[in-house]
């Protein structure tokens, strides 16, 4: 019989080289498109993850809250847009909707507060914009692009990862391309197996926006030059800013914590950095192996599922995904092993969270302290703040990573242990700074010392009553009353000159 040789499929589509609309791909790849549309299902959770976009700090029932919650998120991000709204991620088809709807971006003003860089990981429109504006793009006004966008056609899609004509995998992300270059690598020479993870590394990584003193303003950069682990990244950030603040000279600073006055770093979704030296990453198991398992849609040819989601949503899914490599194990067993790691990670994550809160409070008390201070008071406060910065960054590394530890159990737990140590050191320095006069106020359960902030948003910050409702909120400035000007891809309020 004459059977075709199996080989990497390379296609000759009839699409334009600069095609970026998702719908354009539908006709030629109906099966792929069908799996792509499955990303619209945002109704199912697993034990520790899943796709319902609840508020991650709220404890309780779906849809707004969940049984595994991190009650102090708003406290820990006080003064930073993340404290206004942060939800569980859902499928790629929602990326643009969620970006254009999130309260982190200031929709009450003509100035978004955050730069256009935010589009980087949400739409293949980036290909056009980067072509057109080059490095000027990043600092342009975010709102000015809203009206160009179609929520479905322009959400993360085919052109983000594929050459529209050959369908070969490609990297469209500027920061990834450049980060690889700085490390002497080039994705154009990567193996197929590497590409099956690199396409994800375009987005599922920690990033920061370049300080304008050091290059094109607000350009996204991946902080990998000294290595991809939290210790390396912390070091890296030491000279990537232009602050002249004593003790933090030259540090990169995402924001200054409103309550403890600490120059902070925010970590976002370091999946790739967590995975790469874990049990699977080190063994060459790619993101796509687990998140894009082969499926037989027409009962014949296998295609890569384009429903990027938790593999643990059903026994069938586990069987088809994990089961190909772990064929001797049952889905229940495999799920049990994931949860085994996640339980332990989650418990330590909450301990680290609590200690970070305690550290901010300790510095708050020390800064408000009016009694006799030791000679080295100022140094001690700086030391305490430096440890807060580090402890919270390490906590956030695991908090922001989306597998609750599974992508790399040992690294997740190590990072949390270190976070706890740094935060405890912060507490120690802060107590020392007041000759332990403030120590009694830090005794006992953290819930009794600092209450979790449940509600907070841009709208609420326009109300003095709200700012009076929690001692920590008192550190925030009252925002002028205002109504929504922008939402999704539309102007919803009057234009102001």
């Amino acid at each position: 019989t004459q059977v075709p040789d199996p080989e990497t499929p390379s296609y000759k589509t009839k699409l334009a080289a600069d095609e970026i609309r998702n719908s354009a791909f539908k006709k030629q790849f109906p099966l792929h498109y069908e799996t792509f549309l499955a990303n619209n299902d945002d109704t199912q959770m697993t034990e520790y993850a899943g796709s319902v976009p609840h508020e991650k700090h709220l404890c309780g029932d779906l849809p707004r809250a969940y049984k595994y919650c991190q009650p102090y998120l708003k406290n820990l991000w006080m003064g930073y847009p993340f404290s206004f709204e942060y939800n569980r991620a859902r499928g790629h088809t929602y990326a643009l909707y969620d970006l254009l709807h999130i309260d982190r971006i200031n929709r009450y003003s003509e100035e978004a507060g955050l730069p256009s860089t935010c589009y980087t990981c949400k739409t293949p429109k980036m290909v056009e914009w980067v072509e057109k504006y080059d490095d000027d793009f990043w600092a342009m006004e975010f709102h000015s692009f809203r009206e160009e966008l179609d929520l479905d056609d322009h959400t993360i899609g085919c052109a983000t990862c594929h050459d529209p004509q050959s369908m070969d995998l490609r990297i469209t992300s500027v920061p990834l391309d450049e980060a690889l270059k700085r490390m002497g690598q080039d994705w154009r020479e990567a193996s197929r197996n590497e590409m099956r993870s690199l396409v994800c590394a375009q987005c599922h990584v920690e990033y920061y926006f370049q300080d304008k003193a050091l290059g094109p303003e607000a350009k996204p950069v991946f902080p990998w030059d000294l290595g991809k682990n939290p210790e390396n990244v912390y070091e890296y950030y030491k000279d990537k800013g232009s602050t002249e603040r004593k003790g933090f000279e030259g540090n990169f600073v995402d924001w200054t914590h409103a309550v403890s006055d600490t120059p902070m770093i925010k970590i976002q979704h370091p999946e790739y950095e967590t995975w790469y030296d874990g049990p699977h990453g080190a063994a060459g198991v790619s993101c796509s192996d687990c998140h894009m398992p082969y499926r037989r849609m027409d009962g014949k040819k296998k295609i890569s599922s384009h429903h990027w989601t938790s593999p643990l949503k059903s026994a069938e899914s586990i069987g088809r995904t994990c089961g190909q490599c772990h064929a001797d194990k049952t889905p229940e067993f495999l799920k049990g092993r994931v949860v085994y790691t996640q339980e332990r990670t989650w418990e330590q994550l909450l301990v680290a969270q609590d200690l970070s809160v305690k550290a901010h409070e300790a510095v708050r008390l020390a800064r408000a302290f009016e009694g006799a201070k030791p000679d080295n008071y100022e140094d001690l406060i700086i030391a305490a703040q430096e440890r807060i910065r580090k402890g919270q960054m390490f906590w956030d590394w695991v908090s922001a990573e989306n597998s609750a530890g599974f992508h790399n159990p040992a690294k997740a737990l190590e990072t949390l242990a270190r976070s706890q140590q740094y935060s405890q050191e912060a507490v120690n320095y802060a107590m020392q700074a007041t000759g332990y006069a403030t120590a009694p106020k830090l005794e006992g359960n953290i819930k009794d010392i600092v209450a979790p902030i449940k509600e907070h948003s841009r709208k609420l910050q326009q109300s003095q009553e709200h700012l009076d409702s929690h001692p920590w909120l008192g550190y925030l400035p009252l925002l002028p009353e205002a109504d929504l000007v922008w939402d999704l891809n539309k102007r919803v309020g009057p234009e102001t000159p």
Binding site: V3, P4, P6, P9, Y294, K301, K302, A327, D328
Partner: protein
């Protein structure tokens, strides 16, 4: 023990000669087929484990050389003769390694065979990884399973 060691050696030598003969002269259909089957490979205690596991796998109905020798033709004969002679030689005169590992030649041949049988369903899969068994790690010898389920002393 079932077979007196001396008798085994004689038997194996004979088989070895048979194989080498087959390689040199081109094989009669019968011996070519017989020397593909688990029954033949399993005549060697060293091969018990792999026969045992293969017999419990979804591939139980295949013969060993559906995977372990190139499909048909002179290439198959040559490959078998070489592999067979080596197996017999090692078994009779040489030291067998503690854990038998496949040679690169075997890996290549086996992978070709996976692809040949499963082509229709694998058009898109092909070389996502270096080999099919990078994903299908248990095929067909259950290599990640506890030792007690497949390996035992004296074999």
């Amino acid at each position: 023990m079932k077979v007196p060691p001396g008798g085994m050696k004689t038997l194996l030598l004979a088989l070895g000669l048979l194989l080498v003969g087959a390689g040199i002269y081109g094989a009669a259909d019968f011996s070519m087929k017989a020397t593909d089957e688990p029954a033949f490979c399993g005549s060697c205690h060293i091969m018990y484990e792999v026969v045992r596991t293969q017999q419990n796998s979804v591939h139980a109905s295949l013969s060993c050389n559906d995977c372990h020798a190139p499909a048909g033709g002179i290439r198959k004969v040559m490959f078998k003769a070489k592999a067979g002679a080596k197996d017999v030689y090692q078994n009779t005169f040489g030291d067998v390694l503690d854990v038998i590992h496949t040679t690169q030649a075997t890996k290549d041949v086996v992978n070709e065979n996976c692809m040949a049988c499963h082509t229709m369903t694998n058009i898109n899969v092909a070389d996502a990884k270096e080999s099919c068994t990078d994903c299908h790690r248990q095929v067909p010898h259950f290599s990640k399973s506890p030792i007690a389920e497949r390996r035992v002393a004296n074999e």
